[in-house]
């Protein structure tokens, strides 16, 4: 059941991200729904399940973005592990801590992605600190909404 729910969540995230990038490209730049899903699973599921979800979400994102397959898989696996580890140490069920972890996870994801690009010898296309921060803020707000909705689902 949990697997089915995970697959459905991932599919919904892929669908929403596709719609957003198609009909609101400016807004899509501030939202990474896959990261939100990964953070959610990192905080609510055991580490193995969270990491599996991180890898799956990253690979789907790679296939959607036509980037190097495995790059987002790598970063999101790492993020899911880190979020799971932090979630096991701290209480992150309040709004501000949740926003903080979403914000941090999003920025780490972007930075890890940039670091991997550099490590693989690809040209660095740094979007700018402000853009990354905006990305983190946007994802933080949207993530809170996601958590609010998810808490009310059966």
């Amino acid at each position: 059941m949990k697997i089915v729910r995970g697959v459905v969540t991932l599919g919904a995230a892929a669908l929403a991200q596709s719609l957003l990038s198609h009909y609101g490209p400016a807004l899509a730049g501030y939202c990474d729904l896959f990261t939100i899903v990964v953070v959610y699973y990192g905080l609510t599921c055991p580490p193995p399940a969270a990491m599996m979800m991180g890898t799956a979400a990253g690979l789907v994102e790679d296939s959607l973005l036509h980037s190097i397959l495995g790059m987002n898989g790598f970063t999101k696996t790492l993020i899911s592990y880190l979020v799971g580890s932090i979630g096991s140490l701290f209480m992150l069920n309040q709004t501000i801590p949740r926003f903080g972890i979403l914000f941090t996870a999003t920025i780490l994801d972007r930075l890890a992605e940039l670091g991997l690009s550099v490590a693989m010898g690809r040209s660095l296309d740094f979007p700018g600190t402000l853009t990354i921060l905006q990305h983190g803020l946007g994802n933080g707000v949207l993530g809170l909404l996601f958590f609010w909705v998810a808490a009310r689902l059966p």
Binding site: G11, M51, T55, V60, L64, I68, L69, F74, L78
Partner: protein, 279 residues
């Protein structure tokens, strides 16, 4: 050993997954941009989502666009409808004014062409039964209107004043059975008496059985009645029948359309009736 493995399971899984992703990345780089079987498989798994996203997106977008268009069309339709109504009203008013202008211009031409003092009047009422035997005009004794003054239109004789109040006057038209006008057939100069038949025709009486009358002959005033000036059109011969004794009964269709009579010319003073046709 088993306990150690269970304790280290997350780390091992992390290591496996990270290695797996790195392997994917390196294989992609080695294949110089060509997709691997695994990548193809993932893309195949993702493609239904992409198609669904596109389908939903197009559906929502199409529905929204059509809805907005429909609202726009409805609003535009309402606006154009109102505009059409306003333009139709304006066109009707313009047509009315054009016709009135034409009638007044004809009256003006008539007034300029006759050597008498005339007065333009507007028909303001008809008989209570809707007939045009007696009509009321908006000029009266204050304007110089007197009894028995002839009333004309550019098409011909209308009738005579039978009552002149200060502001209005009554005109007995040639359709009235009690009216009478001296007329003659323009072509043959045969004379007779024009009497109204009530609704829309007149008849010419006292026309000799031997006289030359044909359907279509124009009947004009002869001036012998001392009311209507000589030479103005009354109507045309519509049919010819047998009258009393050795006379013919000539049915006349008046030239003036009494059902649409709106403006007329009252002849105030006649100084010598000229031989002149109003046609």
């Amino acid at each position: 050993m088993a306990h150690l493995l269970a304790e280290r399971k997350p780390y091992l899984l992390l290591l496996v997954l990270l290695t797996f992703n790195l392997g994917l990345m390196s294989s992609r780089i080695k294949s110089a941009g060509q997709r691997s079987i695994l990548e193809e498989a993932i893309l195949s798994l993702a493609s239904p989502f992409l198609k669904a996203a596109s389908w939903v997106g197009h559906g929502v977008s199409g529905t929204w666009t059509e809805y907005v268009d429909l609202r726009g069309v409805q609003r535009e339709n309402r606006r154009l409808g109102e505009k059409i109504d306003a333009l139709a009203l304006k066109a009707q008013e313009a047509e009315e004014e054009r016709q009135e202008l034409q009638r007044l211009r004809d009256l003006l031409d008539l007034r300029d062409s006759v050597p008498w003092t005339t007065l333009t009047a507007r028909v303001i009422a008809r008989g209570v039964d809707g007939s045009a035997r007696i009509v009321t005009v908006d000029r009266g004794s204050h304007d110089g209107v007197r009894l028995n003054q002839p009333v004309l239109t550019p098409r011909g004789i209308v009738g005579r004043i039978i009552e002149a109040a200060p502001g209005t006057s009554k005109v007995q038209t040639i359709l009235d059975p009690n009216s009478g006008a001296a007329g003659l057939i323009q072509r043959t100069r045969v004379q007779g008496m024009i009497v109204g038949e009530g609704e829309r025709t007149c008849r010419m009486e006292y026309v000799s059985d031997l006289s030359n009358v044909e359907v279509g002959d124009v009947i004009v005033t002869s001036g012998l009645d001392q009311i209507y000036p000589k030479g103005y059109t009354i109507g045309v011969v519509e049919s010819i029948g047998e009258g009393e004794g050795l006379t013919k009964l000539v049915a006349i269709r008046p030239e003036v359309d009494f059902r649409r009579l709106e403006e007329v010319l009252v002849v105030l003073k006649t100084e010598g009736p000229p031989e002149k046709s109003a046609r």
